[in-house]
């Protein structure tokens, strides 16, 4: 926990400096007749972020904040395993949406999560994997008229559009 506190503060400090640098693409000073330049607001706030990071690091050295005193690990191996499995499968699902679309990626994700992470029976798994995409289709595409990404499966949906829209 103690190491993680310092690493996080350092990473955020670097990010703050990046934001400050990025803000200077627009004027950060006073423009006569126009007031503060477009970059001023984010620039000074990023400077504030940097100041906070420095103060967090100072408190880390002084062991003033609870995480900087904690001897517990930031993540136990068990937590890391679950975090990677869940966040990983979520990332994979979002990446797959670009290729096979929502109606391909979502059922795959549900099968993976419910069957393999949750260890539920195939009946529960398949019910969820079939019902949720169908419900999503009718709710979002038909009722809300918001098309969801379909990747290369797009042509498969033309007949459905003809029927319902």
């Amino acid at each position: 926990m103690r190491v993680a506190e310092l690493v996080m503060a350092l990473v955020l400090a670097v990010f703050s400096i990046y934001l400050m640098w990025k803000s200077t693409e627009l004027p950060i000073g006073w423009l006569p007749g126009e007031g503060p330049g477009g970059g001023a607001f984010p620039f000074w706030l990023s400077l504030g972020m940097l100041a906070c990071c420095i103060s967090i690091i100072v408190r880390w050295v002084a062991k003033a904040s609870p995480p900087s005193r904690s001897t517990e690990p930031f993540m136990t191996p068990e937590t890391v395993k679950w975090f990677l499995l869940v966040a990983g499968s979520l990332t994979a699902m979002i990446a797959l949406i670009h290729v096979i679309g929502v109606y391909g990626a979502v059922p795959l994700f549900l099968v993976y999560y419910v069957r393999f992470l949750g260890r539920h029976g195939w009946a529960t798994t398949l019910t969820l994997a079939l019902c949720i995409p169908v419900a999503a289709f009718f709710f979002f595409e038909i009722a809300l008229k918001k098309t969801l990404p379909k990747g290369f499966t797009e042509p498969l949906f033309y007949p459905l559009y003809d029927i319902f829209l």
């Binding site: 006073w30 607001f41 995480p67 930031f74 975090f83 979002i94 999560y113 949750g118 999503a136 990404p149």
Partner: protein, 506 residues
């Protein structure tokens, strides 16, 4: 009198078939969301906001407000049955609710929670109705300096509540404000902070992306980590007879209910304070008011009644500054406020003038929602208990899918879905290190309102920052903000001073 006739008009809107259906649906959904461990009103409103685009704004806010309301009732259910607060707002309910359930009085605790929620809700809605017009009248006189001063006050209250880790709270506010400035500069129209020249950043970072990332994905990751162990259910027998008996016994708790309602309401009005501190304070006051403070924590029914009355009252209270001043009183109202912007309504006092149907429809719907929440809550207690048995490994993937689709729908851009995932994961890691996340969500909603107010004020005063202190209203607000900001610092100084005095007795 004007208030009364406007309220009647509001009722006409609230009982339209569509709106009435939405109130009932919202309350039911809210009850379930509130009852699930790890999900509270913020999560429900954030995840479901993208789905309200199909109905008019008035119906949309009625639905979301009903969810907010229902979740306040529902939070008590898992606090009592599982001993896990259904939402942070129900933390105080576990203190006595859980011991009552362990003693076999779960039904009594559930009925007490529902009745207290109803009383808290009713008192606060009446107060809300009476205060709304006068406050909006005052707010109409506000110019950019006053608006900016109010924003500063909202952030200052967060710092006042931050406890020990002020730098982390400040960091969270700053980063939210910086993210809100991504996109096209409102005054010069030039692109700003376009990271990696990705075109997705031109439309700015939608607050929903941050809100769903943190309250959807981040919260789920957090709950998966916490809930690995088995969940322990309490047994409850619920019969009509026992419900009536429990209601009868509640007469002795009437004083506590009224106290909790008023306290919760006024704490809820304070920007950024919201229902969680309100309910904790009510619990504390109930304990100090009681004749037998020793029985608190061991299953005293007043310990359930006070926080439940307060958290419902606070949820209504926090909508008052949202509607009248355009600043949110809680993280959930911050999201509702963002929704108002998406629906094309300018938050602030002018809403009362330009969209009276929206405001009064919402207020009247709260009365309706309060009644239905009570009925549905008592009627469905067995069903809620069933839902709590639903395994988390079924619930979590469904919520993840909702988050992904909900993140995509508002802008129809996969860029936002990726951004949401990043916010969720980073938010989860930061939360583990005690970085508070609510201020960042509040800041990204308020940023687009705060920055123009600041810049317009400074243009008007030719760069003189004293404009915020010279005008009477903004000066007063700034003063209060500064006091709130300095208060925790002085507390730290006093503590250090006392510690020094202890170690050096001479």
């Amino acid at each position: 009198m004007e208030t009364f006739s406007l309220l009647i008009d509001g009722f006409a809107i609230a009982i339209e078939p569509l709106n009435l259906t939405l109130v009932i649906a919202g309350v039911t959904v809210g009850l379930f969301i509130g009852a699930m461990p790890g999900l509270g009103s913020v999560n429900g409103v954030a995840i479901l906001l993208p789905m309200t685009f199909m109905v008019p704004p008035t119906s949309a806010i009625i639905f979301l407000a009903a969810i907010y309301y229902g979740a306040m009732y529902g939070g008590a259910i898992s606090s009592i049955m599982l001993g896990i607060p259904g939402a942070s707002t129900a933390v105080a309910t576990t203190f006595d609710g859980r011991p009552m359930a362990l003693k076999g009085m779960a039904d009594k605790a559930l009925v007490a929670a529902a009745a207290a929620s109803f009383v808290g809700g009713t008192i606060s809605i009446v107060l809300f109705t009476l205060f709304a017009l006068p406050l909006a009248g005052v707010a109409l006189a506000f110019g950019p300096p006053e608006t900016f001063a109010l924003m500063v006050l909202a952030f200052a209250t967060f710092i006042g509540l931050a406890g020990d880790d002020i730098p982390k709270t400040l960091f969270s506010i700053f980063i939210g404000l910086v993210f809100s400035s991504v996109g096209l500069d409102i005054i010069s129209g030039e692109p700003r902070l376009i990271f990696g020249d990705l075109s997705g950043f031109y439309h700015g970072i939608n607050f929903l992306v941050l809100a769903i990332g943190i309250y959807g994905i981040g919260e789920m990751l957090w709950t998966i980590e916490v809930s690995k162990g088995g969940v322990l259910m309490s047994k409850a027998t619920v019969t009509f007879r026992r419900v009536l008996d429990s209601l009868g016994e509640l007469r002795s708790s009437a004083k506590t209910m009224v106290m909790g309602s008023f306290l919760g309401y006024f704490v809820g009005i304070l920007p950024a304070a919201g229902a969680t501190p309100g309910s904790l304070m009510a619990y504390g006051v109930a304990k100090s008011m009681a004749k037998d403070p020793g029985s608190f924590g061991k299953g005293n029914v007043d310990g359930v009644v006070a926080p439940e009355a307060a958290n419902n009252a606070a949820s209504t209270g926090s909508m008052l500054p949202m509607l009248t001043l355009g600043i949110p009183g809680s993280p959930t109202t911050a999201i509702l406020l963002g929704g108002m912007v998406i629906w094309g309504l300018e938050p602030g006092p002018l809403v009362f003038v330009n969209h009276p149907d929206f405001v009064w429809g919402l207020i009247a719907s709260l009365y309706v929602a309060n009644l239905f929440a009570l009925l549905i809550n008592i009627g469905f207690i067995p069903a809620f208990i069933g839902v709590l048995k639903l395994p988390f490994t079924v619930l979590a993937p469904i919520i993840f899918v909702l988050c992904v689709i909900g993140g995509y729908v508002p802008t129809q851009d996969m860029h936002d879905v990726w951004l949401m995932l990043i916010f969720g994961v980073v938010g989860y890691l930061m939360r583990k290190l005690d970085y508070p996340m609510a201020p960042a969500v509040l800041a990204i909603v308020l940023g687009p309102l705060a920055e123009p107010a600041l810049r317009q004020s400074l243009i008007g005063s030719h760069g003189d920052a004293m404009i915020f202190f010279e005008r009477p209203i903004s000066g007063t607000i700034m003063l209060v903000a500064i006091v709130l900001f300095v208060l925790p610092l002085t507390k730290i100084v006093i503590r250090l001073w006392k510690r020094a005095a202890c170690t050096n007795p001479r």
